[in-house]
């Protein structure tokens, strides 16, 4: 694992990417954002991201397929699903396909940052949780 966590964000609504990118950068992570699932999957095949944050309902590829493919390509990556259509069934299905956590939209920036910090702490074996928050 590199010194800075590498995060890929995929959401077909640009505003989500626009808001998550600086928030993650500010917290010290390396971030790439995609609004197109095919492009995101191509990138996931090239680079070992530590965390993949993906929407569930998108134009083009279904988010569940992205979860499944990501889990196959990068089994060590933690996948966080963000969705505005949170139901018990979609949550269960996401976890079954390899999701690590599930955040319902709309969410607070702090919530998703906490989620990533938890992942970071776990990956670093229970070490520091980032910037001390």
């Amino acid at each position: 694992m590199p010194s800075r966590l590498r995060i890929l964000v995929l959401d077909d609504e640009p505003i989500v990417c626009k808001r998550l990118k600086p928030a993650f950068q500010k917290a010290g992570y390396e971030v790439e954002t995609y609004t197109d699932s095919a492009a995101a999957l191509r990138r996931i095949e090239e680079t070992a991201f530590d965390v993949v944050v993906t929407d569930l309902k998108m134009e083009g590829a279904d988010g569940l397929q992205v979860v499944e493919r990501t889990h196959q390509i990068l089994p060590q990556a933690r996948i966080v699903v963000i969705t505005g259509f949170a139901t018990l069934d979609t949550a269960k299905e996401s976890f079954r396909k390899g999701a690590f956590d599930f955040v319902a939209k709309p969410f607070k920036l702090g919530d998703i940052l906490d989620c990533v910090r938890r992942i970071e702490a776990e990956l670093r074996g229970g070490g520091s949780t980032g910037n001390g928050m």
Partner: protein, 877 residues
């Protein structure tokens, strides 16, 4: 389902509906109340999203609006059944509002009123559709940031559409674009044809008359001959696309040439260059709309440009730069003249670090017959600085206020007039900061910093503030608030609007992100976190802190990297399409226009927002149920009876089964005949606490009388009007709806031996006084409820408290407390003169109520022993 088919369906169901069973009517009534609450909560949730703490997308907006549509439609339908009448007017109001919302979501801006001209001072927030990007921004500068901008008026985009449509010119442009062969020659031909068409076409006479009237008004306020500057302000201009230099500006225009100059600016929309610029950026022909600003020409003594971030000083952006010259500013902007250059620090007191005074031999001045000309600068001024130190400081302060507002370094055009007054002519983002901020090692800095507070409270406005803590309370003289301080206070207060221009940020112990102060902070984009509970204890007056109101953390000391990171963010949340869309939608959802049920305007036709419809139906539902119950044929099993003893609540009780014990022929009942467990406890609490009759603190007679007279005017003072309060009861259930003066109170409760079924829902809204006093009372109510373990939400003056699944004795204790609270809170807003009184009243109330609740059950001791559950869901939802 269309309105007509829906009405037919309802009518069919009503046929022969005389004597609908009470069970059905009551179910509808209860449904209306639950839906009413759900709608208010949805609206409050949507308002919270504007603070910037949440990440939401377009889908959220669409979903939230759909949910609202659905609830409001069903609310009207339920009301139709309950009242057994056609609510065509309500359905029409609903359809009107829903249509406007759908148009907004689809990206088709809805124009209200379609004003052709608009004085600058009337340009409100969200005016971009009406007056274009540049003028909306100037309106912001003047109306929100209180910076001086040239006086004048806008010829709106509605005027543009009126002119262009009447002459078939819009259709001509759209057709031309469809048929365009893609060549430069073709575009030039099209451009010539359009520009000729615009110059040859007459302006609608009504528009000409309104322009002339506005020009006359401006002329009357002026001693010198009137000269105007006409500037373009198109949709999208100065937003993501700057259109810099694409559209025409006409300077020093005499009154008789305004119409001609207007056409010149309009025609510039269709210049080859502007058209090409739009095509390159993917603008569609339907997105073209041009407003034109007609500004008084300032008699410029010195003018120039301010960059709030001097990029050539290095990436650190620790300085701002001012270029200035004598006379008008056009020469400075175009770089045609020698200018003085000043570098200043970016923090108060904005020390001047470098000054380079140039030899300035020529200056721009208005020509006698219109337009601008050049002349020699008098010999004694050529080598003199064009700005004084005081003027430089004034400019710096204005620049930083603009930068903070826009969250980006700004490129500001300004002028000082002959009287030495500063006028801001334009402010736009300083381009090409690029990704500079992202290279800032911000995480290194924050990880080293000491965190004072993290994740407490709610973000009312996101952003970063660096400055010294200024502790403020109700006794603080706000005039002494220092420039650049961070305001820290126990409570939110609209009073702080006065210092927002000077404050870097705001932190409070209590308050709501949808309250009045939060709204003002959002308007002026002052980073604000409310409801931290402990900020005033942890922060010391005068200490330097960094407030990150995006991630909701307060650090000790100055973290310049964080500040810089924020200012170089490429996407500003408040300028995102989704934010603007949500704000526009909420304007058609949240404002409450139908306040007074006794006013002539309290009718369906006057409903302009969903809140209006909801409020109207709530009032009518209570009224209808009382009326129905008084007509025995409609409610065979549920005669309505007035409560004859106890405090004068004016309560009418409808017993839906086992709630009272009185003989059928009795017209009224007394407390002793109430068997409903929750209602009995509520009434006992009200009576035993004695809080209805005895004022707990000395009353300021003036405000009390003013609220009293407003509440019950002579014509409304009859017992019948006061007596519209309604309780529907079963043995273990009560639903009480009260209008006490100007506030509304609902208590819905089930209390029985099955712990899991028990709940109390308490809702409190409104008041007679201004928002600040009502909000204080709301805080008082909220704090009391919290002391009794209610889960409480406060949105402005709306308080919702919920508690669930406690044992019967604990529930009854709380019902008795609510009886006391309802008595105590009545008219309390009129007595809430200062924020400090909130805590005083909580103390007084807790002491007074302790005897009432203690005699029945030592709840505090029991709670220590046994776990209790306070759950989150609405009892009926």
């Amino acid at each position: 389902m269309g309105i007509l088919s829906h009405m037919a369906d309802l009518l069919a169901r009503w046929r022969g509906s005389r004597g609908l069973p009470f069970a059905l009517l009551f179910k509808k009534f209860k449904g209306i109340l639950e839906r009413n609450n759900r709608i208010l909560e949805l609206m409050a949730d949507m308002g919270d999203k504007l603070g910037g703490e949440y990440v939401f997308d377009r889908q959220y907006i669409v979903d939230a609006c759909e949910q609202l549509d659905d609830h409001v439609f069903k609310l009207i339908s339920d009301m139709s059944v309950l009242g057994q009448r056609k609510n065509v007017e309500l359905f029409l109001a609903f359809e009107r509002i829903q249509h406007q919302l759908q148009e907004e979501i689809a990206g088709r801006h809805h124009f209200e009123g379609g004003r052709l001209v608009l004085p600058f001072r009337d340009i409100g927030p969200d005016a971009e559709d009406e007056v274009g990007g540049k003028l909306a921004q100037l309106g912001d500068l003047s109306n929100r940031l209180h910076l001086r901008t040239p006086d004048g008026f806008a010829i709106t985009t509605a005027a543009f559409f009126a002119f262009m449509t009447r002459n078939g010119l819009l259709a001509q442009a759209q057709r031309g674009m469809q048929d365009w062969d893609g060549t430069d020659g073709g575009l030039r031909e099209l451009s010539d044809r359009m520009q000729r068409g615009i110059h040859d076409a007459p302006l609608p006479w009504g528009l000409v008359a309104q322009i002339n009237a506005m020009v006359d008004v401006l002329g009357m306020r002026r001693k010198q001959p009137l000269r105007l500057a006409l500037r373009s302000s198109a949709w999208g201009e100065d937003g993501d696309a700057s259109f810099a230099g694409q559209y025409a500006t006409e300077l020093n225009v005499p009154p008789d040439r305004v119409v001609e100059a207007y056409k010149n600016v309009i025609a510039s929309v269709y210049s080859v260059e502007a058209w090409r610029y739009r095509l390159d950026r993917g603008f569609r022909e339907t997105e073209v709309a041009m407003a034109v600003g007609c500004q008084l020409m300032a008699h410029s003594r010195a003018s120039g440009v301010l960059y709030t971030c001097a990029l050539h000083a290095g990436d650190n952006c620790e300085a701002m730069v001012i270029s200035a010259a004598w006379g008008g500013g056009a020469a400075v902007v175009s770089g045609e003249t020698a200018t003085d250059t000043f570098l200043l620090e970016r923090t108060p007191p904005y020390r001047i670090t470098t000054r380079e005074i140039a030899r300035k031999t020529r200056r721009m001045v208005p020509a006698p017959k219109g337009g601008m000309t050049r002349e020699d600068v008098p010999a004694d001024q050529r080598d003199a600085p064009s700005l004084t130190d005081a003027q430089l400081e004034q400019l710096a302060r204005a620049g930083m206020s603009l930068e903070r507002y826009h969250k980006r370094p700004q490129d500001v055009e300004w002028t000082f007039d002959a009287d030495g007054d500063l006028h801001v002519l334009q402010s736009r983002p300083l381009c090409s900061t690029g990704d500079a901020g992202l290279c800032v090692p911000v995480q290194d800095a924050t990880s080293r910093a000491e965190v004072i507070l993290s994740g407490r409270g709610m973000v009312a406005q996101r952003g970063v503030a660096v400055g010294r803590v200024v502790l403020v309370d109700h006794a603080t003289d706000l005039d002494t608030f220092p420039d650049g301080g961070i305001l820290v206070s126990k409570y939110t207060s609209p009073r702080y609007a006065r210092v927002m221009r000077r404050a870097q940020g705001i932190i409070t112990d209590v308050g709501s992100p949808t309250g009045h102060m939060a709204t003002i902070a959002r308007e002026q984009r002052v980073p604000a976190v409310v409801n931290t509970e402990v900020a005033t204890e942890l922060l010391r007056d005068g200490e330097e802190i960094t407030l990150d109101a995006t991630q909701n953390v307060i650090y000790r000391g100055r973290i310049a990297e964080l500040d810089r990171f924020e200012r170089t963010e490429t996407d500003v949340f408040e300028e995102s399409y989704e934010y603007r869309l949500l704000r526009r939608l909420l304007k058609r959802i949240s404002p409450l226009n139908l306040v007074d049920p006794h006013s002539d305007d309290f009718k369906p036709r006057a409903c302009r927002t969903y809140h209006d419809i909801t409020r109207y139906i709530h009032e009518k539902a209570v009224e209808t149920l009382v009326d129905l119950s008084q007509r025995h044929e409609a409610l065979h099993h549920a005669p309505a009876r007035r409560l004859l003893d106890g405090p004068p609540l004016g309560l009418t009780v409808i017993d839906a089964g086992g709630g009272t014990e009185c003989l059928p022929e009795e017209a009224g009942l007394v407390t002793g005949q109430v068997c409903s467990v929750p209602l009995r406890a509520f009434l006992d609490g009200l009576t035993e606490s004695g809080m209805w009759d005895t004022a707990p603190v000395p009353v300021d007679l003036g405000s009390f009388m003013s609220s009293f007279t407003r509440t019950f005017s002579a014509s409304q003072a009859g017992p019948r009007e006061v007596g519209r309060n309604l309780a529907v009861v079963l043995r273990e259930y009560m639903n009480v709806n009260m209008r006490l003066g100007y506030h509304f109170n609902i208590i819905d409760a089930y209390i029985g031996s099955t712990i899991n079924d028990n709940y109390i829902y308490f809702r409190f809204l409104g008041g007679v006084t201004e928002l600040v006093r009502r909000s204080r009372r709301a805080r008082f109510v909220a704090e009391v409820l919290e002391r009794f373990d209610f889960r409480v939400e406060v949105h402005g003056d709306l308080v919702v408290g919920r508690i669930k699944k406690l044992s019967e004795p604990r529930m009854l204790l709380r019902m008795r407390m609510l009886g006391g609270l309802v008595g105590y809170a009545r008219q309390l807003d009129a007595r809430m003169h200062s924020d400090a009184q909130v805590a005083d009243h909580v103390r007084t109330f807790m002491e007074a109520i302790s005897t009432v609740v203690a005699t029945h059950h030592d709840d505090r001791i029991e709670r220590k022993g046994g776990g209790h559950a306070v759950t989150t869901a609405h009892p009926g939802a």
